[in-house]
Amino acid sequence: MCVEWESALFLFSSSVLSLEALVINDPDFQHEDLNFLSRSQRYEQAIRKSSLMVLKLREYGITDPDEIYWFKRICLGNFPEPFGLHFSMFQKTLETQTTDAQKEKWLPLIIGTYAQTEMGHGTHLRGLETTATYDPATQEFILNSPTVTSIKWWPGGLGKTSNHAIVLAQLYTQGQCKGLHAFIVPIRQLGTHEPLPGITVGDIGPKFGYDEMDNGYLKMDNFRIPRENMLMKYAQVEPDGTYVKPLSDKLTYGTMVFIRSLIVGDSARSLSRACTIAIRYSAVRHQSELKPGEPEPQILDYQTQQYKLFPLLATAYAFHFVGAYIKDTYHRISGDIHEGDLSELPELHALTAGLKAFTSWTANAGIEECRMACGGHGYSRCSGIPDIYVTFTPSCTYEGENTVMMLQTARFLVKSYTQVSSGQQVTGMVSYLNDLSRQRIQPQHVAARSVAVRINDPVSLVEAYKARAARLVEAAAKNLQAELNHRKSKEDAWNRTSVDLVRASEAHCHYVIVKLFTAKLAEISNAAVRAVLTELCLLYALYGISKNTGDFLQAGILTDAQITQVNQRVKELLAIIRPNAVALVDSFDFHDVHLGSVLGRYDGNVYENMFEWAKKSPLNKTEVHESFHKHLKPMQSKL
């Protein structure tokens, strides 16, 4: 298949590729292998690169948001940057929620961050405890962190880098709590960078990953800021303390949808990188024997290895298409949003919540699977996969904890189901629920359908996934109703059904992904590319069935015999995809610098380069380690 065409299909535009060359060839962006640096050193490197990047953006005159996004990705490789929140949340919030006067005052001066999460509260925003009390006498807000749990905790760039933060706090005015609002709070002295009096700020210490990021804590003790520092585009506090309500808070949905769509894209990208490394390495590594007397085969020739990696490869492709779909849909309807038409937003919001969770969970497990498929060498930092994993895994938690996200989707599904039950029609991705009412009239319908599934036809498999989703949504909704009938409170009933509800959401998301992947096939004009992607799509759908056979059997969507066929077909597809496996990861078109892996090198010269890499390890700086003189020698002489 044509690799270059493929990469042009869905990943990069040509301008991105030239940006990449610009950065990779720029000597200013070179640095020592990050694996050998301490956390402080990694932080310093990140700051150096971020600062440089800001200056270079100006130098090259890059202003297009997409180009800025790619330029940043390329500059920073895959590592987080301490300025990340400055660019995303801080500036975005300032742009959307400030008056023009505020914008002029704040935008150019500062490095900011966005301080929302507290030690005791994350996803449940209403529980945040930080207070901002208005004092009309001085026309100031007084900010306080009243408890240990209220200390701001986790914001990126807060620990060491930022001099300002947008702080989310419960607003009190005229003795009443008005809920969460955003305030611009200076935290460090301009010029000296020392914390201001009343501010306690620092780094939260080492983490699983994100070494270069100074995630921070912030404690405020009677810290006063002028009234103008409240972001007042929507809600306002007048000089006398009168509170003016905002018009609508649904608008924040838009930002959330956008950020979660980025995570779906990130799931695809991170999994693609891990697949690239594992599949290339599996073609280089030889081990054991398949046939007595023959040379050791590439480990990619073992069925078990293919079974670990190819479904993930198919998943990576599937997620690319899903990410693109959400982004497109968001852009399509964001025009409507600006004109006040929010009708499509609830479904998109519900769908992206679930897809964020589904894709990040799957990619999280998939990256580890890829790493383990590389055996012992996958465990070395030189494989690059440990870094991909530790950088990616928090996305299961941030921007909405995954289980909570799944339950948000479930709420929408149950609501849709209830609408259908009461005779209304629903539209969009949940429209399959409309069929349920018809099935109730014909009880034999579901069983009769089972023979109709054609396991070599993606369109037919979409129907199978649809039937599974419908069945699980219905089961969850019925269980919820049964709990309610036991005179449980609404909340109790919901809690006691939540495992079922999460399963229903997962099935719904799975259906959406298979559907989008299948739909994509029709758009591919190149026959060879379409053929190989059809195989991947089939593998994705069939593998999903074989991992969830219980759902399909129990609902009578597939028979025992069909399940056996599905399992068999999955293995046949592995052999069919095998010859294209390396080409399929080459199509992702990751530059070696961007991949950051000795095992995944494009040229496959793995062992020589592992040796070269190891020689640079900090423990090898001297031939005899200082521990010998300090500990070993004295011990031997004493014994």
Partner: protein
């Protein structure tokens, strides 16, 4: 939180009083924690001894792990060496032994673990003279040993190792060489910086003939100044996901000569004239490997899983989030069904694996006694057991620890939670001492063989007689309570395992009969074979758990809660692998709904005892080394105080002066 009601939380320590959210969990325990602990330890006397040892070690500041998460690779290596040396001194003082409980109490971060393997391999593989010569040197630490088997290009497949040892009859020496880059020894612990000697596995050549892999003692560093010996290239292989404290190393040999006596020769010897002599059975070598696999299950896998459960469950009753009922206080996150469904099955698994490790240990002790009597009959079964269970327990527990980590949300991601280190350590166990997929396939080979034998009426080892047993076609359960009967679910597991082995064997036979070559047929069935082996181990684990519970009748208080955990472990397995139980209709769709209902009911039951059940593991705070999992539950205060000690808060970063200031000024000057 009540802790905060005082309003004072500045820098003074509030640590000491127990968080009321955690205290209340302990008041409602349905059983005596102390009794459960004693039972797990094997008696109150064992508990007392274990606690005394832990106390002795933890009150010694040299063994402190408080700064572990802040240290660089270099610092951790140095600390590990310092601790190992100190331990040696302490052992002499206290009269502790190598195999005593003290080692376990240290919970890692020691150097010289491979030194112990070095010593053990000499005792197992060396002749009496070799043992007399080397063991005293090693125990006195006159030398530091390592064990060099794995190469850059080869791990599990030992025959593929490429290092050579050629016998030179004129000098009576072996000449060792690394013929190419993939033959470089890679990964051995203690070898990168510490070791002076190592046992090298190499292909033996005498008079041009290859005799396969043999072990040789090779000196790699000077005993005087620790510099590398001539012909040796060695160093550290660089940073890894964990084990930063261990100097995993590489080793290249160029015409390194060792005397003839350095080949470990209990079983094989090259005589002065070059005659190769084999004596006794090499099967015993297998036994060494199998014992290592069995002993790692408890120390490297089950204990870390218990720690992870302790941390995640204690944190989940301290953490409050959202409201379950309007107007009430925010709920403990462990009160959410989804959180219970994440954590409680992992807790049940920790108990299940603790019991299976006990069972295996007993089996191996019995096997060892037989082997000493030169009876090797049990070896194939022991080998299959050690491979399959090592693979299943490591794989299951690794994912369990990861679930615990993610169940702690953002704070789980902090190293101070202790969970990332537990995860990155346990995950390595899926690879070392045999890659899991390969191990499952070894067990599968044994199972297929036994199945063939059983179906032709030949005798098979006791653990697999079920393959020939006749079981009912359908599960007899009538309602959800029936699924709380161990007979019902154990039989379901047995049926499922037998079916998977049976159908895979049939598939293999079909392929061979249709003309596919044997090895191709094997490769085409490997996905199924691995699944069958896993099912077998899962079945034995469930069965053993049920039998363990049965034996507890003298302790009804404990038996009751253990029964709940056993039910949960079994039903969780059916719930999460529904397809294989439904497949041939053994369990019907309606019965699967009963399984799900019983399973979800159990979550709520075990929820009440969740904290006492982890308290019973009896880990000290220092052992856990976690801000989230401490006994007193003062999570937030601990996080806050500990984070302030981070080097990033103590050292001045040059980043501001060097980069941020110029950047800001440039912006300012443009205005």
């Amino acid at each position: 939180m009540a802790l905060m009601e005082t309003g004072k939380y500045s820098q003074g320590s509030l640590l000491g009083s127990v968080n009321p959210d955690l205290a209340s969990e302990r008041q409602t325990a349905s059983f005596s924690v102390e009794k459960l602990t004693a039972w797990l330890d094997g008696g109150t006397e064992h508990t007392r001894l274990r606690r005394a040892v832990v106390e002795a070690i933890e009150c010694d500041p040299v063994f402190s792990r408080e700064n572990q998460y802040f240290e660089s690779q270099n610092e951790r290596y140095e600390a590990a060496v310092r601790k190992a040396v100190h331990l040696q001194k302490k052992m002499d003082e206290m009269g502790w032994t190598e195999n005593g409980p003290e080692f376990k109490a240290l919970s890692g971060d020691l150097a010289f673990l491979l030194h112990r393997i070095f010593t053990r391999s000499i005792s197992m593989l060396g002749s009496d003279q070799q043992i007399a010569k080397w063991i005293p040197l090693a125990t006195q630490y006159q030398l530091i040993g390592s064990y060099a088997q794995t190469e850059l290009g080869h791990g599990t497949y030992l025959q593929g190792l490429e290092t050579t040892a050629v016998f030179d009859i004129t000098t009576q020496e072996f000449v060792l060489n690394t013929p190419n880059i993939s033959a470089m020894k890679w990964w051995p612990g203690d070898m990168g910086r510490s070791a002076t000697h190592t046992v090298v596995f190499a292909q033996l050549y005498v008079n041009g003939k290859c005799y396969g892999l043999h072990p040789f003692i090779v000196q790699i560093r000077s005993l005087q100044d620790h510099s590398l010996c001539p012909g040796i290239t060695a160093g550290d292989i660089g940073p890894k996901m964990n084990f930063e404290h261990i100097d995993n190393g590489y080793l290249m040999l160029q015409n390194v000569r060792v005397p003839r006596e350095n080949m470990l020769s209990k079983f094989c010897e090259v005589q002065p004239d070059g005659t190769y002599v084999r004596r006794g059975s090499q099967k015993i070598n297998y036994f060494t490997m199998t014992t290592v696999r069995i002993s790692l299950i408890l120390d490297e896998v089950v204990i870390p899983l218990m720690k992870a459960c302790t941390i995640a469950i204690r944190y989940s009753v301290v953490r409050r989030q959202s409201k379950l009922k309007p107007g009430e206080q925010e709920a403990k996150i462990l009160d959410y069904q989804t959180q219970q469904e994440k954590l409680l099955p992992q807790l049940a698994a920790a108990y299940a694996f603790y019991f299976i490790s006990d069972y295996l240990q007993e089996l191996f002790d019995r096997g060892y006694r037989e082997i000493q009597r030169k009876n090797f009959d049990m070896l194939p079964e022991l080998h299959a057991f050690s491979s399959g269970f090592k693979a299943m327990v490591t794989q299951y527990s690794t994912s369990a620890v990861e679930i615990c980590l993610r169940a702690c949300g953002g704070h789980g991601y902090s190293l101070l939670s202790g969970l990332p280190s537990l995860y990155t350590k346990i995950v390595a166990s899926c690879i070392y001492e045999g890659e899991n997929t390969i191990l499952f396939l070894q067990t599968a080979r044994f199972l297929i063989k036994c199945f063939m034998a059983a179906s032709t009426g030949q005798p098979v080892p006791p653990s697999v007689t079920y393959l020939a047993a006749v079981t009912p076609e359908k599960c007899p359960a009538k309602n959800k309570l029936d699924f709380l009967s161990p007979d019902i679910y154990t039989e379901a597991y047995q049926h499922m395992a037998a079916r998977l082995i049976n159908s895979t064997a049939a598939k293999l036979q079909d392929l061979v009969q249709s003309g596919v070559k044997k090895h191709d047929a094997w490769n085409q069935c490997t996905v199924q074979l691995a699944q069958a082996a896993k099912a077998h181990c899962h079945y034995i684990t469930v069965k053993n758990f049920a039998e363990t519970v049965e034996k507890l009748e003298t302790q009804p208080g404990i038996q009751k809660i253990m029964k709940h955990l056993c039910d949960l472990f079994a039903l969780h397995g059916i719930f999460s692998n529904a397809g294989v139980f439904l497949h041939d209709g053994y369990i019907s769709g309606a019965q699967m709904d009963m399984v799900t209902a019983s399973y979800l009911d159990l979550l709520a039951v075990i929820r009440k005892d969740a904290v006492p059940l982890v308290d019973a593991f009896d880990f000290t705070d220092k052992t856990l080394n976690s801000a989230l999992g401490s006994y007193d539950g003062q999570v937030y205060q601990r996080l806050y105080e500990w984070a302030q000690k981070s080097p990033t808060n103590k050292q001045i970063s040059p980043a501001y002066e060097r980069y941020l200031k110029p950047l800001l000024h440039k912006t300012l000057s443009k205005l």
